[in-house]
């Protein structure tokens, strides 16, 4: 790669799709205009475990306008169950009479109008035989399985028994130690856009309009479920109204809506309710965690042990195993981990923004804070004492690690020096004041990706790839990359995304999107430059006739050489034909060639920052947060946050700042607000709406300052791009809990933190 990332990135740029979004012109999945669609509504179970013994559909079918009702009786096994988020088994829906969890889809009503479908749903009568369900950790009937921390749930690659024994031994003799248990609640993504699906058939060709984080994955998965050729399936999702992991894998609804549309011979649109979004997609499972840290009197860690328990559905072994990450954060001679999946009568959980790190870093970073008080050491200094440039698990070097510069810059801006270390010592009027901090980090992932670029003689370019605009600013980052690589203005680059007819990119998850897409775009732009240059040096009428094509660059709409000689694209492009079109694939280093073929098959193989052979690649950050706790009534508020991140080259500081802030706000939410409540007796979800499932409002988030610490890391990938989608949230919940301890002297180890815990 010859293009210097310093040229490509770093210019604050407004969103190219901003006007379309705020004026309603941006088309989300269910906005796509279709001729004469019918409307589907879902019937979901109101028991969590049992069997359906029969339906009484008479009243529902009698509602004027009702066209079809799909149940396990009528459609049964016509659609295969999709794989769970880990590729393994997951609960069935209309395939059988079995009910695995609350809110499972058990019937689909199709009608001429949304209103008729909604009314008919309320008139469906279902008979069930209920079995006593298991709600969560403390319920009777859980099944606990110890599993490996490996992502795919396979047997442990290395024996943790010896490591555990060593950690225990180090712990036993250490002068300072923390031994604590933590808990995090179930949480739901609640993206603004609901979990809609629209399906339309044209002969054998199926088009699916659905918010998705993986266009090519959705296409392949649904084709497999329906038993049709993936080339007959097109998925379209030009804009996604938030995803956060909830749209990474196919869910059961899609293929059923496709089948319903086929039965009816008409397009069908499904817009489920907000409440159904809690049970027809995935969620963040509740965890319990056990952390043991031991240290020398000067704060050096001598052992780290971190065990997690995570709830899953009966059939699925999905887990996040976040201690794979936490175990490599600090230098320690002895590190051991363990993970357990606790099966209950619940839906299968899945990816949710920083899936592994959000819950597990709460425990580790809370424990580090506890250790700092035992050591009587500033918590930032404790991180400094245990900072390392070497991954303590693999022994590999970090590709870059600016953790302490992040802490120092955040602390300086925050005014950390004003902190009186004594808990409960700071007060402002009736409010107790606390300062807390925590580390943030996230692995740098990159996958294979393809892009098609067309350059016109007019100096305008089109970039097309099946990438995903989840609100992150993907249209803009891709436009910036192509414009700067081609020497054009951002406004001269048109970007098409969100359509599986376009070249494939991996699932937009694990913060890989920016790295994966920009490398493919730059590769295509390099090829555009090469072809223009080779045509120019071969042409007698070109000023560059006979020159070395490698010396020519694209600058300000012209092809030019080092002497400043140039010619416009209006002359350079026609030499290659009517327009210049390039299709490029980028296969990141370390991945087998088959990874590219797999991508076309809807499977995204990643180069993961935590399992590379050459380096360990992570982005790092630091949060400093102030909390206020009312001295009498104990409400917790967060007036300000300062966070610093070192995350490689920042493509667009404007949208990066928004993404960091969004993560931080969600971290505050994770600490203080969000919890899905599960009724203990019935295993049903209680607060399946945005009134009772709390998220912060504007008044909860007065001030957030972001510092972007410059970082030029070419070992992570050629462009030095580290993802930023997830890192903002990581550690934030712990920073808030640590600040609450500092304000009150009370250590809260279970989220969310609420007034009642401090009374």
């Amino acid at each position: 790669m010859t293009i210097d990332p310093a040229i490509l990135f770093g210019t604050p740029t407004p969103r190219v799709d901003g006007v379309a979004k705020v004026t309603g012109a941006a088309r989300y999945g269910s906005d796509e205009p279709l001729a004469s669609p019918a409307f589907a509504c879902l019937v979901t179970s109101d028991i969590a475990r049992g069997r359906i013994t029969g339906f009484d559909l008479g009243a529902a079918k009698a509602v004027p306008g009702v066209l079809d009702i799909l149940t396990h009786d009528t459609v049964g096994n016509q659609v295969k169950t999709p794989p769970g988020p880990d590729g393994g088994p997951t609960p069935t829906t209309l395939e059988s009479d079995r009910i695995w969890h609350d809110g499972q889809i058990i019937a689909i009503v199709v009608a001429n109008t949304f209103e008729a479908a909604t009314e008919a749903v309320s008139r469906v009568r279902v008979s069930t035989v209920s079995e006593p369900p298991t709600a969560s950790f403390d319920s009777p009937g859980t099944e606990v399985k110890a599993v490996a921390a490996a992502r795919n749930g396979s047997a442990p690659k290395e024996d943790q028994t010896a490591k555990k024994a060593a950690a225990d031994a180090a712990f036993a003799v250490a002068p300072v130690k923390v031994d604590a248990r933590y808990a995090t609640p179930p949480q739901h993504h609640n993206p603004m856009e609901l979990f809609t699906t629209t399906c339309s058939w044209d002969g054998p060709k199926l088009t699916i309009y659905e918010p998705s984080q993986f266009m090519w994955g959705l296409k392949s998965a649904v084709a497999r479920q329906l038993g049709i050729d993936p080339s007959d399936v097109r998925t379209v999702s030009r804009f996604v109204g938030g995803a956060f992991g909830s749209r990474g894998n196919v869910t059961s609804r899609t293929a059923w809506v496709a089948l319903a549309a086929k039965r009816l011979g008409r397009p069908i649109k499904l817009v489920p309710t907000r409440a159904q979004g809690f049970t027809i997609a995935t969620f963040r499972a509740e965890t319990r965690q056990h952390v043991r840290l031991s240290a020398t009197a000067d704060g050096k860690l001598t052992s780290v042990f971190h065990e997690g328990w995570e709830v899953s559905s009966r059939p699925s072994s999905y887990k996040v195993a976040g201690n794979k990450a936490t175990s490599r954060l600090y230098a320690a001679p002895s590190i051991a981990t363990a993970v357990n999946v606790v099966h209950a009568d619940r839906a299968t959980p899945g990816f949710m923004r920083a899936p592994a790190e959000t819950p597990y870093m709460f425990a580790l970073e809370s424990a580090m804070d506890e250790l700092s008080y035992m050591l009587n050491m500033d918590p930032i200094e404790l991180r400094r004492v245990n900072d390392t440039q070497t991954d303590p698990v693999s022994g590999l070097s970090f590709s870059s690690r600016l953790l302490m510069p992040c802490f120092d810059q955040a602390a300086e801006k925050f005014g950390w020096k004003q902190r009186n270390p004594k808990p409960g010592s700071m007060q402002d009027g009736a409010w107790l004041v606390g300062y807390g901090c925590a580390t943030s980090f996230y692995p740098n992932n990159i996958g294979p990706a393809a892009a098609r670029i067309s350059l016109m003689a007019s100096g305008r370019a089109n970039v097309a790839m099946a990438a995903h605009e989840l609100g992150t600013g993907a249209y803009t980052t891709i436009a910036i990359t192509a414009a700067h690589a081609l020497g054009l203005k951002v406004v001269d680059v048109a970007v098409q995304l969100g359509d599986s007819d376009l070249p494939p990119v991996p699932a937009a998850g694990g913060s890989n999107n920016a790295a994966s897409t920009t490398h493919a775009v730059v590769k295509a732009c390099e090829e555009v430059r090469r072809r223009l240059a080779e045509a120019a040096v071969a042409a007698e009428d070109s000023p560059f006739h006979g020159a070395d094509p490698a010396t020519l660059t694209l600058v300000e709409g012209r092809l030019q050489n080092a002497n400043g000689q140039s010619e416009p694209l209006s002359r350079a492009v026609p030499r290659t034909g009517g327009r210049l079109e390039v299709y490029a694939e980028n296969l990141p280093a370390g991945l087998p060639a088959s990874a590219m073929a797999q991508l076309y098959d809807g499977r995204a193989m990643m180069s993961r920052g935590d399992s590379r052979k050459d380096v360990t690649a992570y982005a790092f950050g630091a949060h400093c947060v102030e909390v206020r706790v009312h001295s009498l009534t104990r409400e917790i508020r967060v007036p300000r946050v300062v966070s610093a991140f070192a995350s490689g080259h920042i493509i667009n500081p404007t949208t990066a700042r928004s993404q960091y802030m969004g993560g931080i706000i969600w971290g505050i939410s994770s600490a203080l607000h969000e919890a899905t409540e599960v009724d203990p007796a019935s295993a049903r979800l209680i607060n399946t709406n945005l009134a009772d499932y709390m998220v912060p409002v504007n008044a909860d988030i007065p001030s957030i300052e972001i510092i972007m610490v410059p970082e030029d890391d070419r070992r992570v990938n050629p462009l030095g791009v580290k993802g930023i989608g997830e890192i903002g949230i990581v550690g934030m919940n712990a920073a808030v809990a640590n600040a609450v301890f500092h304000a009150t002297g009370k250590r809260l180890r279970e989220l969310p933190l609420r007034a009642e815990h401090l009374l």
């Binding site: 109101d46 009534t633 409540e677 009724d679 209680i686 009134a691 912060p696 008044a699 007034a755 009642e756």
Partner: protein, 342 residues
């Protein structure tokens, strides 16, 4: 959502006539009145209320929405919007607890729509009540039981409940009305009547589906709040899980008249923890005629929570209620002495 008929009541007499089958406002009454719609539409979308006929009272706004302060007190048309009353300069100056309780409620959008009369009739936020897929709810289906008693009850009431229903009254403004000893005007098929606001809501009994003492067809037309010295020195403290757009987990409306350091009169309304809008009479008695110290405020808070029953997750409200009362008393004490004399 089910089909229903809709009619506008052009005037009060037509409203009363059309509304004869509203019952006592129970959720399954076939006829429901519509004012701001912020509760009714919500519950209709949730399938909790499935009226056959909706009688729109919006035309009554013309004659029953004015804000009229006088030397005797404050008269408020029941169709005034929450936002309109919260912003009124006289309400803010002479009845701050009223303005604060309205301003801290709901969202700007809801405050712009919701009427005062509808506000005091707001339904509970009990999640089991609000989701008809739960079979057991005595408030929705009399005799079906209560899923909340042994279920998720963090937000439920600790005062004035019994085993048949532990739902809490969710509103704020009614709590302030309790403290200021407000009165209401009603018009119904049998004519007009005038009630102390405190007798509008029913206490817990075996019939939680009946929430008020409204008679069939009765419409609330006005509120009257007497002008008092304690109304001027009044405050609403709302404790909640987030800073805005959230119901109280505990709230206290305190109105205070001091004579030097001595409490001459005090009124305490409680919300976020009681089955109905609540008045802490015994706490008021304890405080009257004595200096308002931290210890006295704490003891009053303790007394106000006597008889409170926790059901597990809401146990904390007993302590939080006490602290909230303390905080409101001390905030009222810190306010400047009012201009109006008793």
């Amino acid at each position: 959502m089910r089909p229903f008929s809709y009619a506008r009541a052009p005037d009060l007499s037509q409203a009363v006539r059309l509304g004869q089958h509203t019952g006592q406002g129970q959720t399954d009454a076939p006829v429901q009145f519509l004012a701001g719609g912020t509760t009714l539409y919500d519950l209709m979308k949730l399938d909790v209320m499935v009226p056959e006929h909706v009688i729109d009272l919006t035309p009554l706004r013309g004659g029953h929405a004015s804000i009229t302060p006088s030397a005797d007190g404050l008269r408020l048309g029941a169709f005034a919007r929450m936002a309109q009353v919260a912003a009124h300069p006289v309400v803010r100056a002479d009845y701050p607890v009223l303005a604060e309780s309205l301003q801290l409620a709901a969202s700007a959008q809801i405050r712009n729509m919701a009427t005062l009369g509808g506000n005091v009739l707001q339904r509970t936020r009990c999640t089991y009540f609000r989701d008809p897929s739960w079979a057991a709810c005595n408030k929705r289906n009399p005799g079906s039981g209560c899923a909340a008693v042994d279920g998720f009850n963090r937000n439920h009431a600790v005062l004035g409940t019994n085993a048949s229903c532990i739902a809490q009254y969710p509103g704020d403004w009614a709590v302030a009305l309790m403290a200021l000893e407000a009165e209401i005007d009603l018009v119904g098929p049998l004519g007009a009547r005038h009630l102390p606001f405190a007798s509008l809501h029913r206490s817990a009994d075996k019939q939680p589906h009946l929430e008020t003492n409204l008679r069939p067809g009765e419409v609330i037309t006005a509120f009257f709040i007497p002008a008092t010295a304690y109304a001027q020195r009044s405050v609403y403290v709302k404790v909640r899980d987030r800073a805005s757009y959230e119901f109280a987990i505990a709230s206290a409306a305190v109105a205070l008249e001091m004579d030097g350091d001595i409490v001459r009169q005090v009124r305490i309304g409680l919300g976020g923890m009681a089955y109905r809008p609540w008045r802490a009479h015994n706490a008021e008695t304890m405080l009257t005629g004595k200096p308002l110290t931290d210890a006295a405020a704490e003891a009053a808070g303790q007394a106000a929570m006597e008889g409170a029953v926790g059901r597990g997750q809401n146990d904390y409200k007993i302590a939080l209620g006490r602290q909230t009362i303390m905080r409101a008393l001390m905030q009222a004490k810190a306010m400047p002495a009012p201009s109006r004399k008793a």
